[in-house]
């Protein structure tokens, strides 16, 4: 579309609102970053100070050297990637089935997955804990990955179903006409085309797992502690370690944001094909 607005009008209608929105999105984060480079004495003063008089990285140093935070970041990464693998591995075939097959249980099952999302996770915590204990999965990567993947699956199934719906059936037909089996058709034709959708769903699972606290807290122990649980440990009974907490919080947001930066072109393209009606 040709944009015939004047430069000034464009500024007022586009650049200015965008600047405001980005400022809104970043404001609290910037406040956290500013706090993380203030010496302890400058945190929590009245009136609040914005620019630190003397910036210091001591909190980051302490975080790296005297706590297990970096190890926790690694744990979170493993858990999140595991959840992505399991979540995608399970929801992609399911979505394919919902998209390509018509069977009586189809609608009830689709709605069923939606209902799963509606169950308040909080109340499931103790029964889930007991279950994981019986399966011997407490304080293991597998246990937390299973927990995270399971709660990401319903959303992933729905998202992937609409991406598969966007790929015309003719593609499957064309592949089989050439002698490919169904599995080969999937592997060689459908999956590559659905890749942007798969990537998008993967990112959603990654972010959800990365930020998750409840499961991680209940199902983890000494061996597997994610970064959200580690952050919580800076909040004690009698004191909050604001310096460490804000430093940790600053670091926590970075992996997901960087991932977005890298993927954002594909992300946009990925969700695209999901909405196309053929």
């Amino acid at each position: 579309m040709i944009d015939r607005r004047s430069r000034l009008r464009r500024f007022v209608e586009v650049e200015l609102p965008i600047a405001l929105i980005v400022a809104f999105a970043l404001g609290p984060y910037v406040w956290m970053v500013m706090t993380s480079i203030k010496p302890e004495a400058e945190i929590g003063t009245f009136p609040p100070s914005y620019i630190p008089r003397e910036a210091t990285f001591v909190h980051y140093e302490t975080l790296a050297a005297r706590t297990s935070f970096l190890g926790n970041l690694m744990n979170s990464l493993i858990v999140a990637l595991g959840a992505v693998a399991v979540g995608l591995g399970v929801s992609v075939p399911a979505a394919y089935a919902f998209s390509r097959f018509r069977f009586r249980a189809r609608n009830p099952l689709l709605v069923g997955f939606l209902v799963i999302n509606m169950v308040p996770v909080v109340l499931l915590i103790i029964p889930l804990f007991v279950l994981m204990r019986q399966l011997g999965l407490l304080d293991t990567f597998v246990g937390i990955v299973m927990g995270h993947a399971t709660f990401a699956i319903p959303f992933s199934v729905w998202m992937m179903t609409s991406y598969f719906n966007a790929l015309p059936r003719e593609l499957d037909e064309a592949a089989t006409v050439d002698g490919a089996s169904r599995l080969q058709a999937i592997r060689l034709v459908i999956l590559p085309l659905a890749m942007p959708g798969i990537v998008t769903t993967g990112i959603y699972i990654f972010v959800t797992s990365w930020n998750e606290y409840l499961f991680a807290m209940m199902l983890s122990g000494q061996n597997v502690r994610t970064v959200t649980v580690a952050l919580q440990s800076f909040i004690g009974e009698f004191s909050i370690q604001w310096g460490l907490l804000t430093a940790g919080g600053t670091l926590v947001a970075i992996p997901a944001t960087v991932l977005f930066l890298i993927i954002q072109r594909r992300l946009v393209g990925g969700l695209t094909s999901g909405a196309v009606k053929s």
Binding site: V130, R133, S233, F238, S239
Partner: protein, 405 residues
């Protein structure tokens, strides 16, 4: 035949030391759950010392996130339900009745009888930790007592003394409330029952049947609520202020008094230096009062298969110098008399205030309803009263109903 006998007997000879060796080599492992405020603090040095003195026992310490208390206890209850609980753990009195009802705790009287350093902990402390059935399930580990922080400089400028009685408190508060500084940083959020307790339980209310709705109790509570609603001596954020807000705001000089304990003393001094000091909480004209006893103990669980070893570890932590070393990690006070006499982890005036407050120490009732009271019922009613959504009297009636139906 001879060779076979030789072989047999040498095999037998070899076998005996093997069995002996393997018994010495398999250590008992004691699993212990703890929570430290400072994530950099680690009990490793204490564990090493203990293991050195007790070869054959290994301590596996697991730090559980506190999460305002909720996460720690959710994990503990879930683990007890799932049969996966540790052998011993740090616990508070507020949970004792629930744990007892779940039959989760092991009575320790026999083991305590054989523990020499038991005498180093005052009989009063043992009494406070004893269960209603007369048995000891908790081994006191550390404690704090709530006292009144005040801004010595603001008081001097206003020409008032730190308050002794409730009436003194009202007069002093009105004198120092000026220039945007609130007189008293009141804690209306979870855990704030400690503040309320000093003024209401200290003035005659109690948790016996009818104790919340007696004339004295209702009068005391009305007086306390009016400090906020009528005299405006609390900051307007009081309803949802938690410990972090009252400490931070006092440190930043926005309140002239607040109630907390020695756990925050070092932080206060760092921010305010000599301007901050402490006295016991206000009492009635008859000298009677109430202040919260902040406890922390270790308990051994009934399902543990290594109770004696677990008790050894628990006892170790509550013994003299080890207890003091433990307190260096947590910032609380030692339960041992020997350690208290040479205390140097906090400035003296706060230790003195704590010592002067021990006569007023009280705990909440050992009832299964208590945890819900402190976490949910008290904050809700207090907040509603401060906001005028309910009357002070209705608030006390709700408490009476909560405990006694």
């Amino acid at each position: 035949m001879k060779r076979r006998t030789v072989l047999k007997s040498s095999a037998a000879a070899l076998a005996v030391p093997m069995v002996g060796a393997s018994r010495a080599q398999s250590p008992t492992t004691v699993r212990w759950w703890y929570h430290f405020d400072n994530p950099q603090a680690s009990p490793a040095s204490l564990i090493a010392k203990f293991e050195g003195e007790n070869p054959g026992i290994k301590v596996q310490a697991e730090s559980i996130p506190w999460g305002g208390g909720n996460d720690y206890y959710t994990r503990l209850y879930a683990a007890l339900v799932a049969g996966n609980a540790p052998d011993c753990a740090m616990v508070k009195l507020g949970n004792q009745s629930r744990l007892l009802q779940m039959k989760a705790l092991a009575p320790l009287d026999d083991l305590l009888a054989g523990w020499a350093a038991r005498r180093d902990i005052s009989e009063n402390l043992w009494k406070m930790h004893r269960a209603p059935d007369g048995r000891n399930y908790y081994v006191p580990l550390q404690y704090v007592v709530l006292y009144l922080y005040y801004r010595a400089d603001l008081f001097a400028a206003a020409g008032v003394q730190p308050p002794r009685t409730f009436d003194d408190f009202l007069k002093a508060a009105q004198a120092v409330q000026k220039g945007g500084v609130s007189a008293f940083g009141m804690r209306g959020g979870g855990g704030g029952h400690d503040h309320w307790g000093s003024f209401v339980l200290g003035a005659g209310a109690n948790f016996e049947p009818g104790g919340m709705v007696s004339a004295r109790a209702l009068e005391a509570n009305r007086w306390f609520v009016e400090l906020g609603t009528k005299h405006k001596l609390f900051p307007i954020s009081a309803p949802t202020d938690g410990f972090r807000q009252i400490v931070d705001n006092f440190k930043a000089g926005r309140t002239a008094m607040t109630i907390h304990h020695i756990g925050s003393a070092n932080e206060m001094v760092q921010a305010l230096g000599d301007k901050v000091s402490a006295v016991p909480v206000p009492v009635g004209a008859d000298g009677k009062g109430w202040t919260s006893f902040g406890d922390e103990s270790n308990a051994v669980f009934a399902a543990s298969k290594v109770k004696e070893a677990a008790f050894k570890w628990v006892a170790f932590l509550s013994t003299g110098e080890h207890n003091v070393a433990f307190n260096a990690f947590t910032g609380q006070l030692t339960v041992t008399d020997s350690g208290a006499s040479k205390w140097n982890l906090h400035p003296k005036r706060f230790v003195d205030a704590t010592a002067a407050s021990t006569a007023l120490m009280g705990t909440l009732p050992n009832s299964t309803k208590t945890a819900d009271f402190t976490r949910t019922v008290w904050p809700q009613q207090m907040q509603r009263a401060l906001l005028g959504q309910t009357t002070p009297d209705a608030m006390m009636q709700a408490f009476e109903r909560h405990f006694h139906g």
